[in-house]
């Protein structure tokens, strides 16, 4: 079949052809970018935090009437309250291990600072930004972090200090990512670093494979994997405990902690939000991303449906309009399949033109989004997949009207239009 008659036929329907082609182009541009956004959000949501997230939960609680000062007596009193809680929680039958900690990955509450290779460098001039996790000797086992070099904290390493106390820890465990950033040769273990412009040195005693910072906002993108673990119990009038339940005993452990804590000390505030499983923390942190992905998905589906409906509508009209010509072609010997192919190829031609325009639009839209919304460059694979999708969509949509056209009997040619 030659394309020439088809093209001259299309010339007589310029408006319709242009409309379908543009619609396909715009659909392609939007769908490519939307699917790309979905992919990025899913990738973000699925990245591992470095923790063993099963059987893990967190308690955030406050003491009522606890001392608020920074004097040694107040700090010791707060620490004894915390130690009492830890002992009670560790004695529970469903609990595998417990660690006090100031925050967890994905929990939008963080303590950030800088780390430098020289003493006294002020905050901005540090070599890297980092987030601090203050915890004790059970932190690795409780969170399920993998130690890849050096040693873990021991009970003798653990200090305690007031929340507002500015002293830096004398030893730390870093994430491998942070250690590699500071010591690109990979010899971080045993080296000395300085935190937050402090003149006192801190020794690196261990490296963990991976641990995410608490916040998930885009402002943390420069230091997402740069975490520092310090062997310090922070003393304030509130505390957080990360708890690993024994396998399969998460619910039981979560139910057991409230009465246990109240039995230890009545004077505290514990409410519905105080006890959260890590799965809940993860869901809360990424709810907006998941929502965006679902919304984009719905938009894509509706858009494709609307475009398909448009193609069906216009093609049906053309079939109706050319009813008589189809009869003539059939009377002159064209087979049903020829008529079917005619409409299918016609649609392919229009959709291809639309796809080419759509390709340019998709790249343009991506550039606009990159400029305005910190998007990444759209990979070519997405555009190619999009082109295949809109061509398939066009073929799917054209099939029903084209089949109807192929069923026009040759006898129509003999009748008046």
């Amino acid at each position: 079949m030659t394309l020439h008659p088809m093209i001259s036929a299309l010339r007589r329907h310029k408006a319709g052809v242009v409309l379908i082609a543009l619609q396909i182009a715009l659909t392609l541009a939007i769908v490519c970018n939307a699917v790309f956004i979905i992919g990025q959000r899913i990738e973000r949501v699925n990245r591992p935090t470095g923790l063993d997230e099963n059987n893990l939960f967190l308690i955030s609680q406050q003491w009522v009437g606890a001392p608020s000062g920074d004097d040694p007596a107040s700090v010791d009193k707060l620490d004894s309250l915390q130690q009492a809680d830890l002992a009670a929680l560790r004695a529970l039958p469903d609990v595998a291990s417990v660690t006090p900690i100031n925050s967890l990955p994905l929990l939008n509450s963080s303590w950030n600072g800088s780390v430098s290779l020289q003493p006294g460098k002020d905050l901005r001039a540090g070599n890297a930004r980092t987030t601090f996790y203050f915890s004790d000797e059970q932190v690795l086992s409780t969170l399920g972090l993998h130690l890849v070099a050096g040693r873990a904290f021991t009970a003798a390493d653990v200090q305690h200090q007031a929340m507002r106390d500015q002293r830096e820890p004398s030893i730390v465990i870093l994430t491998k990512a942070l250690a590699d950033k500071l010591f690109p040769k990979g010899d971080a273990l045993g080296k000395v670093v300085y935190f937050n412009g402090d003149p006192a040195p801190t020794t690196i005693i261990g490296l963990v494979e991976r641990m995410q910072v608490p916040a998930v906002g885009s402002w943390t993108s420069s230091f997402t994997w740069y975490a520092t673990l310090a062997p310090t119990r922070l003393n304030a009038n509130f505390s957080r405990y990360a708890i690993r339940a024994k396998p399969g005993r998460l619910d039981a452990a979560m139910h057991a902690v409230t009465p246990t804590l109240y039995a230890t000390n009545r004077m505290r505030v514990l409410d519905d939000d105080s006890i959260k499983s890590f799965a809940q923390i993860r869901a809360d942190a990424y709810r907006a991303d998941v929502g965006m992905a679902i919304l984009m998905g719905v938009v894509c589906l509706i858009l494709l449906a609307v475009t398909a409906a448009g193609i069906v509508g216009l093609t049906s009209f053309w079939v109706g309009q050319r009813h008589r010509q189809i009869g003539v072609r059939r009377a002159l010997g064209a087979r049903k399949i020829d008529i079917l192919h005619y409409f299918q190829i016609e649609n392919l031609v229009i959709a291809s033109v639309g796809a080419v325009i759509g390709l340019l639009l998709a790249i343009g839209l991506n550039l606009l989004l990159m400029h305005r919304f910190e998007m990444d460059r759209l990979p070519v694979a997405y555009v190619l997949a999009g082109i295949v999708a809109v061509l398939a969509l066009g073929q799917g949509a054209v099939f029903v009207p084209a089949r109807r056209a192929s069923n026009v009997p040759p006898v129509v040619a003999t009748r008046a239009a």
Partner: protein, 433 residues
């Protein structure tokens, strides 16, 4: 004549129900999606204090040693107090917030954590805050570090169970404050004067004099974002620390005064350079954005929201093209009918109008469907955890805008098909009949 067109249009629409339903559905989806996102965008990018925001400005100076590309978003204590005491603007106020454990002073009442704002006397008249009972404190109270408080109506309901609370005492941390005023609940959207908390969060609930809050530093009212540019010794007593943590707003009633204030800020910065407090060399960096400029500068509208608006507009465009295509089909199918009308004396203009009426009917039906979809969409947004979720309601202007958009979209969609329809040559078609 119009009634006749209406009748014709309705008949024609009834004739091909599937096509009509398709058009209405496409229009409805496009309008529903764009109205949902545009309503959110409109709410989030709105003017927090209509009529007043043009006279409010946020002075910016830069005491930091390294010149970051953007001027600091907060002030340190010394600059804020200097500018406040200079009193060069019509009104000026320092403000800084924090969550403070608060309870009614009588024994046995329940403590709660309330958003507390430490500010100065001009805050209330400058932002036009309405009192339901009592008054604001005075400039003299500021300097006397008086232990007085103004509370919001919802805070008074929670603390005093609906009995107002004027003249009573509330306990912030371990100190008693006398309630001297109750304000109507006040929630400027965005929460422009303190963006470090949620941009769209609830209003503040307790207001106390700024200098009093410094006197009682253990209250811990040090803002929601403490940004230090040097080494600090103490993060409660921030008066002499190299930290940016305060907000400072001024009211300047005329452009001339705003110009004069810019000059004053420049001179102030030069003076500080001369005193050696500002260590950056060169001409001083200052700025005086207005409320809307300040919001814009801070990129207050969440980027996901504007991204969704763009996507929804693209979606509307596709629906518009779709409707155009389907209308074209519809009108050209009726060439015979149109030819007969033309032959019987209808002018081109009349055919054109008739077609447009039909397009507008489709548009209006799509608008109604879109409105319902937008209401459903906004209901969905109210059930998301975003801090602006509870604001997502369709207000009157957006309600009107829905129909304006449907009208415009349907007219645009109908234009080309109607044009084509009215140029059908009657003779050619009649011969075929």
């Amino acid at each position: 004549m119009f009634a006749y067109y209406l009748d014709l249009a309705l008949r024609s629409l009834k004739q091909n129900r599937v096509l009509t339903a398709l058009m209405v559905l496409a229009m409805g989806l496009g309008i529903g999606a764009s109205m949902t996102t545009l309503t959110v965008f409109h709410l989030l990018s709105g003017d927090p204090l209509p009529g007043r925001s043009g006279q409010l400005f946020y002075p910016q100076v830069d005491p930091t040693p390294t010149a970051a590309p953007a001027l600091p978003g907060n002030m340190n204590y010394i600059d804020a107090v200097n500018l406040w005491q200079a009193r060069r603007a019509d009104r000026q106020a320092i403000m800084v917030g924090g969550n403070v454990k608060t309870k009614a002073a009588q024994a046995g009442s329940r403590p709660m954590s309330l958003h507390t704002l430490a500010t100065t006397a001009d805050f209330f008249p400058m932002f036009g805050v309405r009192f339901t009972q009592g008054n604001a404190w005075t400039a003299a109270d500021d300097l006397a570090k008086a232990r007085v408080a103004v509370i919001s109506r919802s805070a008074s309901d929670r603390l005093f169970h609906g009995e107002g609370g004027l003249g009573q005492s509330i306990r912030l941390g371990q100190w008693n404050f006398r309630v001297i005023g109750v304000i109507d609940d006040w929630r400027p959207t965005p929460h422009f004067y303190e963006l470090d908390r949620e941009s769209y969060g609830d209003g503040d609930e307790v207001f106390i004099p700024f200098l009093t809050s410094r006197d009682l530093a253990e209250l811990g009212i040090t803002g929601y974002s403490l940004n230090c540019y040097g080494n600090t010794m103490d993060d409660l007593h921030l008066e002499n620390q190299p930290c940016l943590w305060l907000n400072f707003w001024v009211e300047l009633d005329s452009p001339a005064k705003a110009q004069a204030y810019r000059q004053f800020l420049d001179n102030y910065a030069r003076e500080q350079q001369a005193l050696g407090r500002y260590v950056q060399a060169g001409s001083p960096r200052t700025a005086l954005p207005s409320v809307m400029q300040w919001l814009d500068q801070n990129g207050v509208v969440p980027s996901d929201v504007s991204l969704k608006s763009w996507i929804a507009l693209g979606f509307l465009l596709v629906c518009l093209m779709n409707t155009t295509g389907l209308l074209l089909v519809k009108f050209l199918r009726r060439t015979t009918e149109i030819s007969v009308r033309r032959a019987l004396g209808a002018s081109r203009q009349q055919i054109f109008l008739q077609c447009l009426v039909e397009a507008v009917i489709v548009g209006m039906a799509g608008g109604v469907l879109g409105l319902l979809l937008a209401l459903a969409g906004l209901w969905g947004i109210r059930h998301t955890p975003a801090d602006y979720a509870d604001l997502a309601h369709l207000d009157l202007p957006m309600f009107a805008a829905t129909f304006a958009i449907s009208l415009v979209v349907s007219l645009v969609a109908g234009l080309l098909p109607a044009w084509r329809a009215c140029h059908i040559a009657p003779a050619l078609q009649l011969k075929v009949i």
